[in-house]
Symmetry: C2
Subunit: 212 residues, 2 copies
């Protein structure tokens, strides 16, 4: 087993000193999915700083993928660059010096390979509202009802944000797939909101005899 490398190398100076043998090394195994998520954002073309990439992920990606932390965005960029999947340069044209990254040909190829070859994982979910409903026997019913009411309010808020994202994509074929994903999310929020309202109704009217 060869060393696939730690992300940070605090001992070595970053400039010059082509010391490592792991420069431009192919990622023998799959990277974690979050790496492909960020690489995927960059596959749409822009040349971004870590800060800008984080903002973009926060505004769109987070609806179906956990928005990675700032620190993780930067360490991912460092790693992807080291693997040759990105190209980077120092940008001093703006008011602030910054490092800008864009996807490389290698990166595009690796992304295509991953999309074609890798079996799909089932979604991973952490659903606090469901967990709390499960534990309803421990608290007064009003606590649970109130909790679900708050969840519905959050759903409405998120739905409105996602609607804005979807509207911003227009009907241009360029953003056909992002638009499909946004639509998917909107359907999800609508269905979820309806389902939770039904649950709240059932909690209020304990046993409505089925009139069928």
């Amino acid at each position: 087993m060869t060393d696939t490398g730690g992300v940070a190398d605090p001992a070595g100076p970053p400039e010059d000193s082509l010391s490592g043998s792991d420069l431009r090394q192919a990622p023998e195994h799959d990277l974690p999915p979050t790496s492909y998520a960020l690489l995927g954002l960059l596959s749409f073309g822009p040349e971004l700083t870590g800060y800008e990439l984080k903002q973009w992920a926060d505004s769109t990606l987070r609806f179906y993928w956990v928005a990675p932390a700032m620190s993780q965005v930067y360490s991912e960029l460092t790693r992807l660059d080291r693997l040759g999947l990105l190209e980077s340069r120092d940008d001093r044209t703006g008011q602030r010096p910054a490092r800008r990254y864009k996807i490389s040909e290698r990166g595009m190829a690796e992304l295509r390979r991953w999309l074609s070859d890798t079996p799909i994982d089932f979604p991973v979910l952490k659903h606090p509202a469901a967990l709390r409903l499960l534990l309803g026997h421990l608290v007064d019913i009003d606590v649970t009802r109130k909790m679900l009411g708050g969840y519905i309010a959050q759903l409405d808020e998120r739905r409105a944000e996602l609607q804005e994202v979807r509207d911003g994509l227009g009907s241009d074929a360029t953003f056909r797939f992002p638009a499909e994903v946004a639509q998917w999310g909107l359907s999800y929020y609508d269905d979820e909101s309806r389902t939770v309202r039904e649950i709240v109704d059932r909690l209020s009217n304990p046993e409505p005899p089925d009139p069928a």
Copy 2:
């Protein structure tokens, strides 16, 4: 800020030696949600080994909460025990010696406090199928269609498993809340399956002019 403690203490022998001052210490801050998830399972009453708790979590909890890894189950049990939220004993009655844990009064109280006082977080989602659909521009359309077909098949499978869980809960009022949560999950799988089928249809018939 006082030390809220590492989970493992490899230096110290576990028996006797009341060395620490952090025994039976209240958790000043909230524990991570996964801790409350496991504590919540134990709030239904049983006295379990780490192994059994992991199996239970795998069979039911995983539908709306990431099933924690074996190693995490054990470290959580150790921590919750150290905090006085669990009671534990060595069990040698079975064929294999094992440590059994059940929830304490303190644990029940802390769980109730958390349910009542803590604001609810929005669900966290990692949705590989959505991420791949987003990147549809990179691959042939058939790759994306096939990917979504595989996802639908996984959905059907999961739905069948959850249906069994739900059937096992019956209509007894004891499991009213677990049954509601299971029903919630079933609705989610049904809605998601329908939505994804619609997406696949749209991918096949690119622009069906709206006949309205």
